[in-house]
Amino acid sequence: MRPFITRFFAWYERNYALNIGIAAFLFLLQLVHLYWLTTDVVAMRLTGESWFSPSGPLRWFILIVDYSEIPALFSVSLVYINELRKGWNWKSALFLLFLNSQWLHIFWITDEFVVAELGGGAGGALPVALVWVAIAIDYLELPVIYDTMRKFALAIREQRTTTFLREELR
């Protein structure tokens, strides 16, 4: 198993620009989900009216973004696992924790429950306070999205990405 992990991260480092680029792109897409959550679900609860009711192609786009959340969590987790592999640091550990707390939101206190509770419907057997825990978990993505974009920008500055664009994708 260990040689496989070593080989995998050697590959990961060789293709760092591509790997962080894919992670940043997939994670940036999640802002669409956060926009929907804020302007539709949270706004409805706080002001009594929705500021955003997607329909047609926009609704489908939001659905596709929702389906890209699991690949995004996986790809961005790899970024921080790779960081921790090089040496322990609290920031990477904390961001990995923020990121993977999403699984609680995906499998347990889901958007379905949040929408049902905030929309005044019957949410089920869970305490209502968990709605705000689910929303907070979603917003924990924001610092990690910022940090992933910063890492991608750093990779560009270090010319890892410019070399990638110049030589690999010509």
Partner: protein, 57 residues
């Protein structure tokens, strides 16, 4: 054995389709591996061409 508090992933807009989820994961993984494979192949070819380059004496 299903717990009443367990509901699958949902965006609040439509039911979550796990077949669609699997398709999206496979598409992302496929595109990722294709790009990485292309990059590695091109790098290997460049290295090979570099070793074939005539040396000026």
């Amino acid at each position: 054995m299903s717990a009443p508090w367990f509901v699958p992933l949902h965006s609040g807009l439509a039911g979550h389709d796990w077949l669609m989820q699997a398709a999206v994961i496979l598409m992302v993984a496929g595109a990722w591996l294709f790009l990485a494979g292309t990059i590695e192949r091109r790098a290997a070819r460049r290295q090979w061409q570099g070793s074939e380059r005539p040396v000026n004496h």
